[in-house]
C-alpha cells in the first residue's frame, strides 16, 4: 500500500525504495543450491528428479503467478486455499452431472473467479483491508466447501479426460507443467504487454499519480483479485485431477503462505510496488529446488521448515540492506 498522505493527516515520507533482491541474487542463489544438492546427491540432477520438481511446483506456481499482481497492488489473498477445494468440488459435481469437459473446467474456474470478484470488490470499492477481507473469505469459502462437499472424499473415477490434466504426460513432461508454463507465460504477457500490467505496476508505484492520470483504480484492483481466484481454481482442478479426489479440506492452512513466500522471494515487496511475474516463477522454482533437494537428502521435515523460515529471513533482510 504505497500511501500518499495517510488518512489521519500524517504526511508520510515516501515509502522506502522498493525492497528488491538485486536482479541477479536469486538466480545465483538457485545455481548455488543446485550445485550444492547435485554435489551431495548426484541423483538430484537426474531427469526424473528434475521433472518431479517441475510437477511439484506446478500447483503452487500457478497460484503464485496469479497472486503476484495482487501483492503488487499492496494487497494479499489469504483465501486461495479453500478456493482450491471449492474448484475441485465444482468440477467433481459437474463431472457427476455428466457434463462435458469444457463445462466442467468452466464450472471450476467460475467458482474461483466468483470468490476473487467478491474479494476484489470488497477491497477496491468498500476499501476494507485485504488481510481481513481475504481472511474472512477464507472462512466463508471453507465453510461453503464443507457444506457443498461434506467431509467425505469424492472419488473421480472413469474420467480419463479430466484425469489427464493432473496425471497425463506429453513428451515426458507432466501436462500440469505445461499448464503452469502456459499460465506463467500468459501472466508475463499481461504484465509486459497489456494496459493492465502497466497499470498494476503504476498503482503499486504511486496509486495517487495513477488516479490523477485518469485511470480507473477500482476496476484494476478488482480484476487482479479475480485473476488470483481463477488461478487458485485452476490449481485446484489440477490437484483434484492428480489425486482423483475432490475434498472440501484441500488447500489446508499454510497453502496461501507458501504462495506468498514464493512471490516475496521472487522480489516483489509485500508492501506493494514493483514486481515481476517472471521473478515469481524463479521464486517458485527456488522453493521447489530447496524442498526437493532437502527431501532427497532425507533432511527431516522439521529442519526443512526451519530452513524455509531462515531463508525467507535471510533473503529479505539482504534485500532490505540493499535498498
Amino acid at each position: 500500500m504505497t500511501a500518499p498522505a495517510d488518512r489521519r493527516g500524517t504526511v508520510r515520507a515516501r515509502p522506502a525504495p522498493m525492497r528488491h533482491l538485486a536482479p541477479n541474487a536469486l538466480p545465483v542463489a538457485m545455481a548455488v543450491a543446485v550445485a550444492v544438492f547435485a554435489l551431495l546427491e548426484p541423483a538430484f540432477l537426474s531427469i526424473d528428479n528434475l521433472v518431479g520438481i517441475a510437477r511439484q511446483v506446478a500447483i503452487v506456481g500457478i497460484m503464485a503467478v496469479c497472486m503476484t499482481f495482487v501483492i503488487m497492488t499492496g494487497g494479499v489473498d489469504l483465501s486461495v486455499g479453500p478456493v482450491l477445494a471449492l474448484a475441485g468440488l465444482a468440477a467433481f459435481f459437474a463431472l457427476d452431472g455428466g457434463h462435458p469437459l469444457p463445462v466442467v473446467l468452466l464450472a471450476g474456474l467460475a467458482v474461483g473467479a466468483a470468490v476473487g470478484l467478491a474479494n476484489g470488490l470488497t477491497v477496491a470499492v468498500l476499501q476494507l483491508p485485504p488481510i481481513i477481507v481475504t481472511l474472512a473469505m477464507l472462512s466463508i469459502a471453507r465453510g461453503t466447501a464443507l457444506i457443498v462437499g461434506g467431509p467425505e472424499q469424492h472419488l473421480i473415477r472413469n474420467e480419463p479426460a479430466y484425469s489427464f490434466i493432473g496425471t497425463g504426460s506429453v513428451l515426458g513432461l507432466p501436462f500440469s507443467v505445461y499448464v503452469f508454463a502456459a499460465v506463467a507465460g500468459l501472466m508475463i504477457l499481461v504484465q509486459r504487454r497489456t494496459p493492465l500490467g502497466l497499470l498494476v505496476a503504476a498503482i503499486g508505484d504511486n496509486e495517487r499519480a495513477a488516479y490523477l492520470s485518469g485511470h480507473r483504480i477500482r476496476i484494476t484492483k478488482t480484476v487482479v483479485y479475480v485473476i488470483c481466484g481463477t488461478g487458485a481454481a485452476l490449481a485446484g482442478i489440477i490437484q483434484s485431477s492428480q489425486v482423483h479426489t475432490a475434498l472440501a479440506t484441500y488447500g489446508p492452512f499454510g497453502t496461501e503462505l507458501d504462495v506468498i513466500a514464493a512471490v516475496v522471494l521472487g522480489g516483489t515487496s509485500i508492501m506493494g510496488g514493483n514486481g515481476s511475474v517472471a521473478r515469481t516463477v524463479l521464486g517458485v522454482f527456488f522453493l521447489g529446488i530447496l524442498n526437493n533437494g532437502m527431501n532427497i537428502l532425507n533432511v527431516p521435515i522439521d529442519i526443512q521448515l526451519i530452513a524455509k523460515g531462515a531463508i525467507i529471513v535471510v533473503a529479505l533482510s539482504v534485500a532490505a540492506r540493499r535498498a
Binding site: A5, R193, T194, A201, D205, N206, L212, G214, H215, R216
Partner: protein, 506 residues
C-alpha cells in the same frame, strides 16, 4: 525583546546541495532569546531546507549551528529537541487515538513505581501549562477527534512542555480562523516575555507584521535580506521575496511575445466558483492560445481552485463551462474527458511513477492510444516516448531510464510531456518549475509557448513573480481564496502585482 543578548540559535554559512541543484547557499540565521523572527520566501526559496537543517532532519553540506553559544552536531532530530529546539510542523506530530494529555507528555509521562503513570501530577502540570498560556482544551479528548485548530494548540503545548528555547512554527495558522489566530499570537507574546525565541514561518503578511519583531527573507536558496519589521513595509517585503525588477532584456522579450486573450475564443469559463471554507466567488475566462498565470502567496488556495477545475476535488458553488458546455468534473477521468490536462504541484507524490521508465511515464495518460486489441503496442509506446523526449529535450535521452534517476528539471519535463501527449485543450500546471534548474526552466517556458501557439489554453499557478512576468499573457492574483483581479501582463507593473499579492488595495 532583549536588545543585544547573544543569539540562542546561531546558524552560519549553511548550505545544501542535491546533485546539481543548490537548495541552500551560504545562509546565516540567528534568533535571540525573546525574539520573534519571521522566515519567509516562496516555494523553492530554501526555507524548508533551512528548517530541516535546524530541526536535525537533514545534514547540511556546509556550515555550522550553535545553540546557546555551543556548536551542536547536525542531523540528529532527537538531539536538537533535547537542546531546546522544537518545531511545530504542518503535518500532525500527534498520536490521534491518544488523549490531549498524553500527547502533551508523549514519551515523558511522569511515573511513579512500576512505571505507572502519575496522572494526577500529569494533570497538574498540564493545567498549569494551560493556565499560563491561556489555552483551553479538554485534556481527555482523543486528539484525532479535535478540529485542526485544537490539534495545533496541542502541538504548541507539547513543545512548550519541553521547555523549548527556540520554537519553529511552520505555517502555524494555515487552518485557523481569525479568532484563533489572535489567541495564538497572544500565546506567542507570552512566550516572548519568558525569553523563548520563536521562528515564525508564514506567508500571511498581516500576521507577520502583527506579531513578529524581525524578518528574514529568502529567495533562490539564499538569505536576501534581514530587517526589523518596524523599519519596512509590505511592498518592500514582497519585492524582496519575489525578486528585483527584471532585467530589461527579459522584459522586452517577454512583452513581444505576449498574447493576452490569445485567439479570443473562450475555452474555459469559470463563474463564482467556490468550495466552502476554502475559496469562493472566483470568476474568470481562459482563452485559447493564451497563458493565464494565477499568482499569490501560498495559502491563497490556487491549488485548490485548479484541482476543482480538473476534477480531483469537488466544488460546491458556481459553474464551469468548457467550450460553452457546462461541466462538473468529479474525477480525473472526467476532467481528462473534458480535454483538461493537469500537471500537479508535487511531481513525486502525485505526478510520476519514480521506479518506472521515462517511456512508461510519458504514455501513462494516453495508454488507450497504444492499444492493439487487448495488447499494448510497445513499439508504438517507444516511438511516442522517443518523440516526446526529443521534443522536450529530456536528458539523458533514453526511454528506458528510470525516472527517479533524472534531475528535477528533466523529471518535470517528463511530467509535462505526459500531459502534452493528450493534446489537451486546456492545460493546467501547478507550480511547474519548483526545484527545477534555470536551464530546464527556460526549456519548459519554451514548451509552454509552443503549446500556446498550437492553440492550447494554459492556466498556470505560480508563486514566482519573475516567472509570471516572463511567461504570462494575463495575470490573475488570488488572495486568501478570492481572485482579486486579472490583468493584462503588458499593462501592469510588477509593483502593482506585488501590492495586490500582499493584500493591499489594488
Amino acid at each position: 525583546m532583549s536588545a543585544q543578548a547573544a543569539p540562542v540559535l546561531n546558524a552560519r554559512g549553511l548550505s545544501k546541495v542535491y546533485g546539481n541543484l543548490v537548495a541552500l547557499a551560504d545562509a546565516d540565521f540567528a534568533v535571540r532569546p525573546g525574539e520573534v523572527r519571521a522566515l519567509i520566501g516562496s516555494n523553492g526559496a530554501g526555507k524548508s531546507t533551512l528548517v530541516k537543517i535546524l530541526t536535525g532532519a537533514i545534514v547540511p553540506t556546509g556550515g555550522r549551528v550553535e545553540i546557546g553559544g555551543e556548536p551542536v552536531p547536525l542531523g540528529d532530530p532527537l538531539g536538537m529537541i533535547r537542546r531546546g529546539v522544537a518545531c511545530i510542523y504542518q503535518h500532525s506530530n500527534l498520536a490521534p487515538a491518544m488523549s490531549v494529555l498524553d500527547n502533551i507528555f508523549l514519551g515523558r509521562q511522569p511515573t511513579g513505581r512500576f512505571g505507572i503513570v502519575d496522572t494526577r501530577r500529569q494533570r497538574r502540570e498540564a493545567a498549569a501549562l494551560l493556565a499560563r498560556h491561556g489555552i483551553e482544551i479538554a485534556l481527555d479528548a482523543p486528539v484525532g477527534t479535535l478540529p485542526t485548530v485544537k490539534q495545533k494548540e496541542v502541538e504548541i503545548l507539547k513543545a512548550l512542555a519541553l521547555d523549548a528555547r527556540v520554537i519553529l512554527m511552520d505555517e502555524p495558522t494555515a487552518w485557523l480562523a481569525s479568532a484563533d489566530v489572535a489567541r495564538l499570537h497572544a500565546t506567542i507574546r507570552a512566550l516572548r516575555q519568558r525569553g523563548v525565541a520563536i521562528v515564525y514561518i508564514s506567508h500571511v503578511l498581516d500576521e507577520i507584521f502583527a506579531v513578529c519583531d524581525t524578518v528574514t527573507i529568502m529567495r533562490d536558496g539564499r538569505v536576501v535580506a534581514e530587517s526589523q519589521l518596524a523599519e519596512t513595509d509590505r511592498a518592500q517585503v514582497v519585492q524582496l521575496m519575489v525578486g528585483e525588477t527584471l532585467a530589461r532584456e527579459t522584459v522586452a522579450a517577454a512583452r513581444q511575445q505576449r498574447r493576452p486573450r490569445g485567439t479570443g475564443e473562450i475555452r474555459l469559463r469559470v463563474r463564482d466558483l467556490g468550495r466552502r471554507g476554502v475559496f469562493g466567488g472566483v470568476s474568470f475566462d481562459l482563452h485559447a492560445g493564451e497563458i493565464l498565470c494565477l499568482t499569490g502567496l501560498i495559502g491563497s488556495k490556487r491549488t485548490e481552485l485548479v484541482r476543482c477545475i480538473f476534477g480531483s476535488d469537488r466544488f460546491d458553488a458556481g459553474t464551469i463551462e468548457i467550450d460553452g458546455r457546462a461541466v462538473s468534473p468529479r474525477s480525473p477521468v472526467e476532467g481528462i474527458a473534458s480535454g483538461i490536462g493537469f500537471v500537479p504541484e508535487d511531481r513525486h507524490r502525485e505526478g510520476l511513477m519514480l521506479d518506472m521508465t521515462v517511456t512508461d511515464n510519458l504514455v501513462m495518460a494516453t495508454l488507450d492510444r497504444h492499444r492493439r486489441g487487448p495488447l499494448l503496442s510497445l513499439a508504438g509506446m517507444a516511438r511516442a516516448g522517443r518523440r516526446a523526449i526529443d521534443d522536450l529535450s529530456v536528458r539523458p535521452p533514453g526511454g528506458g531510464t528510470a525516472v527517479k534517476l533524472l534531475s528535477g528539471g528533466n523529471q518535470q519535463k517528463v511530467l509535462v510531456g505526459k500531459w502534452l501527449a493528450l493534446g489537451p485543450r486546456i492545460l493546467i500546471l501547478d507550480e511547474p518549475t519548483v526545484g527545477v534548474d534555470i536551464g530546464a526552466k527556460a526549456e519548459i517556458y519554451a514548451i509552454l509557448r509552443r503549446e500556446r501557439e498550437k492553440g492550447a489554453a494554459i492556466l498556470m499557478v505560480s508563486s514566482d513573480l519573475e516567472e509570471v512576468m516572463t511567461v504570462a499573457d494575463r495575470i490573475g492574483v488570488m488572495v486568501s481564496g478570492r481572485l482579486s483581479a486579472v490583468h493584462d501582463a503588458g499593462s501592469v507593473g510588477m509593483d502593482e502585482i506585488v501590492r495586490e499579492i500582499g493584500g493591499g488595495t489594488p
